[in-house]
Subunit: 378 residues, 4 copies
């Protein structure tokens, strides 16, 4: 019911504004005795941190995370979760509220300025307040904890399209993802993107992007039917990220053009012992989910991020008093928010899967992470 | 938490299997004193009912709905809701379980057969049991009740792509939608689709489709920030429909290729009295939602439905015992499940919006449906 | 959020009115492969069924339950749950709406007549509509399913006080409970109660009662801290039963008068193998719950039921139009609703524990029912 | 689902341990534009603060609260809520973990030591960790915010029994409550309690107590039927407070001994304009709640707090390794935790009512706080 909380058994509640003193989150439902330290969380925050290249906002935030509850040393001196809520805090350091005085009463097109005013009768205009992408830092922090809950699942995100320029999937290289400022798996495309985005940035403009997130190691059986479908949870998770306007699972929107023979993933004997008796799928159009439940294949999802709405070109708008104005957004902005959405997408995938794992364990009684699929023939 | 329930304040819980005696739903949180009769619900069920053309399954279900609780006559003799849960029941009439004996132990590719077995250790193989699209009848019934809660909002769905064939938006006609068996708003495309789908059907194959649902009359301010975003709720709602693999709001996946100047919707003075002081938007790339909150424009969403997985061409698979088999699905199936997904998509839009309306009223204190947007300048 | 639903992972949603055609419930989250048949449910409904002695209402309801979803035959032909929602229906047979015409506009003191009108602007006056104790039939049915989920836990309720007459605990006999019309464990008291309640009944009056419910076999560790405390869940469950005004765990309200030395339950070595290493408690003032979590001892709870508000003596009241009237309730009523609250209390205990078991399994990873307590010394 | 969250539309999530660096809470769903400052919250924290008399723990905690999100200055310079989550933080100052070394492995009788170990496989032994009454500081802080949401409702708590000594209700004085260290409304009893508790304290013992909380100004119609009953919410809220073992509404457990003529509250014409047409009740045995919905009378609830389990007398117990030990608790403890439970009980009442108000507004459409009851005769 709460709109600042995501998840059911693994529940993340975030708080804090872009220009407030502190942002934070409370993770409720994290199982006990999971080793957890601040550096483990920090490494993911560092991937999302602004100011790391000229292609992201120049706001300087160290994003140093502190664990203030839910963790203590066990008998061996290892810091582990206790089952109590894990609260994480990050102090804001580089907020400059004076940058925003002139948009105090003006509705920036593409932003949530007008809608917050329409809903609440006021809004925190300082850096976007609660609607700022600053909130996603806490998603990344919570996602780092979620990864520990499902430690055997590997999650990686990548940017597969920047503006109109898609990658060539034949050139996909996992190693390349961390070697360019775009999380781009195609080294050739990354070079072209650099030229393109430099040009966009210099114009004071912005562009959209598509992020793909893949999770490997999810056993068959996670998720649930109907309104608790794993893909419905993912759709909600990704669509809740700032600026996202579309979500796809597996073949996504392209399934419309397919026929039955090409869409369904055929199966063969899975090879017995090595995969716990699960069948081997001969393709993965379904993106690893059938009927809302994981198949044991890789979970594959994508989401589209719209261009940053803060641009230098003046745009027509109105202010709070109904007067017509032109709005031109200065300040420090990402020319493509899709880039930093990559670690955010990974985090939401981790949170959805950690929650699905705990729900499955509660409702059906599955074993520990890594629990193999096994059936006894009838 | 429940995976058979959708919604928060307006909550729909469904039950029943494809070949069980009865399917039903419980609608909790429906406000009191709303006129409600069975024929009002029946009209929407009739839109979804199978067997109305050769392009949908030939199963003959009258889908006659009964209201068994939550409604009584008021002082004037009008049947109205009482605030108690509204329970709706539909008896299954034309279920032929014997059709399914041969798939009892076989996993049909593209279906949820394997995943249900993996999760639960057994599955109801009779017509797909709970994973059957039969459940969507109750969504449509509940959606009819939701429409009464937000009576001033107009919701209409249409099929905008069938297989590889998209409509021409220049030819859009609302009137056309009800004049062909496809809910197609482009009369010219409808003719071509008939030829195409006849051919697909005769081959024993199937095809995908894209459904678009539009809601007009939603005032600014519905929805919520962050994890309660109106678009996140819609994404979850649509992705929970059988066979859906992608969801888009406004420009959807295409935003990736846009630049900031083209994506953001500019605003001008809205003309004062007539729209309660809300600005006029000069375009609607956002699909009527910014920051998760409605802008007052039309809410526009689309979802892609994969081809029916039940086809005549034999497909490679395995059975419950790990043996390799070929599966060929006979029985009565829709060659394109996307067609009957149109009224289902409308219903989910109605349920999401009724819930958003009640949540907004609870958390912010908005007035009755139709509540105009108004601000007092600071 | 829903006020017609109880539970989190094991969720029960009820619907239907006293004089409607059908009452029912949907049980969501019931684990799969649990054997379940209608007679198993019916036996508990028969304990609650009206008209079994002169001390309960003479309404004749067979309360024949039907399972309409969520159950099918497994490989061996046993009917088991499938993981899908279990829906149960009971048709009302003996409703006489004409009995209630004269209270249509009058507020009966002690009933929810005025408050429903105040909240909803109308109410279903026929037999109390939704506020009738008829709804508790579905609690008992759902409780029967919950018992199957935690099959190793033994739950029994008893009436320990009727009007001003408490039992003598020295004479407690489990066997006696089923041998008198009061669920009274003290055979001597049962005789005295018969005389007392006959006299009350003949006067057209009514009396209150105290119900005690005990659960044995709950392992240490169920429940949760803070707002998910097992005793908080029980308090909510029991207080939600019609006419309940007080709830106690263990020593209950009497703890106020105790001192620290007498209240805390001391522990000794538990005897090793037989109880999985858990300590033996030397007393049970805590009622089997410490910090909201089960200790492994018997869970002991009590609740007080107020006298039936429907009595023959005229009482001062007002009607819907603000006019002063005298109300005298004829019709068929229980002289002590506390009696039939015994199986209802048992059912709510079962539902709370089944939910606690699933939540524990999800959040901490406990084993199957019967899971022994075990620690590895640090 | 979360066990660190209370409420539905007005949701409070707490975190932090007794001896951690910081405790805090996140209040989600607080309506916008409500004036809110730190001193308004601080005044209630000061009522609960330890070390204010010799009858509470000597731990010195200033409990200085900081609002870190959800509040900003409006046009007039007033600090108001924005609709975003209100996060409150309190730094722990006077935690002495070394006090607790010797109970690290020992299970203190009456405490949650054994049960946390049984559930989680470890526990935070430092000052009770999460199970410490320290958490109730955040309840009081959140309750202060809740009071602002329902500003027209007056809530006051009092201690009505200390150990075996009950107050004389004939001597009740609201003014007296703040004039003694017990929140005792009977000045005569307060003197006797001082003598009694001094004696208990010097013995190193402790005693129980009964707290009564009354809310005036709640209009008819708040709360909901069935599982959302206002009294069920209160029962859960109070039972979730540390050491509480019983909860009563109105006449509470005593209703068992009543007969129908004495229990039901009769009604007369309410005097028209002044109370919006609601009837006048001639008594209040129901504690202001019928059928789970408020009657417009005062809401009256009580709860019993057990004696502090930390006492000087050695008690028999076991340690984590199964060895039998004697436990004697030194350190700083309240001889009667019931005293400081008074502001905590008030806070929980405020939270339950703020939530009920928002839920009512969402589901039925009630007006702003103070909304009068009104009916149009049929």
């Amino acid at each position: 019911m709460s709109h600042n909380t995501f998840g059911h058994l693994f529940r993340v509640t975030t708080f804090g504004e872009s220009h407030g003193p502190t942002i934070g989150c409370v993770i409720d439902g994290c199982p006990p005795r999971i080793p957890l330290t601040e550096p483990e969380i920090q490494q993911y925050l560092d991937k999302r941190r602004p100011g790391q290249s000229r292609f992201t906002t120049q706001r300087r935030e160290p994003d140093a995370v502190r664990i203030v509850s839910g963790v203590m040393e066990d008998e061996s001196g290892t810091r582990v979760t206790t089952g109590a809520p894990v609260a994480l805090l990050i102090d804001n350091v580089d907020s400059r509220s004076k940058d925003y005085g002139e948009i105090k009463d003006r509705y920036r097109p593409g932003h949530a300025d007008f809608t917050y005013d329409a809903k609440y009768g006021l809004r925190d205009y300082r850096g976007g307040g609660r609607s700022s992408a600053r909130e996603t830092a806490m998603r990344v922090a919570a996602g780092a904890v979620a990864r520990k809950v499902i430690a055997h699942v590997r999650i990686r995100g990548a940017l597969v399209q920047l503006g109109p320029h898609a990658i060539d999937r034949q050139r996909w290289s996992d190693a390349a993802i961390d070697e360019n400022p775009f999380f781009c798996p195609d080294p050739h495309a990354a070079v072209a993107w650099e030229t393109y985005l430099d040009e966009v940035r210099k114009r004071g403009s912005s562009c959209g992007a598509i992020v793909e997130v893949v999770a490997e190691g999810v056993p068959p059986g996670w998720g649930a039917p109907l309104y608790g479908k794993l893909d419905a949870e993912l759709a909600s998770a990704f669509m809740s990220i700032n600026a996202v306007k579309g979500v796809e699972i597996g073949d996504g929107m392209a399934v419309a053009a397919l026929e039955g023979e090409t869409n369904a993933d055929e199966m063969r004997h899975g090879g017995g012992e090595t995969n716990g008796g699960a069948p081997e799928f001969l393709s993965n159009h379904a993106g690893g989910i059938l009927g809302g439940i994981s198949t044991g294949q890789a979970i594959i999802a994508r989401f589209a991020v719209k261009p940053t709405s803060s641009i230098l070109t003046p745009q027509r708008s109105v202010d709070r008093f109904g007067d017509e104005v032109d709005v031109r957004t200065k300040g420090r902005h990402d020319p493509c928010v899709g880039i930093r959405a990559v670690p955010v997408g990974e985090a939401m995938m981790a949170i959805v899967l950690a929650d699905a794992f705990l729900r499955h364990r509660g409702q059906v009684g599955g074993g520990p992470p890594g629990w193999p699929f096994s059936r006894t023939p009838g």
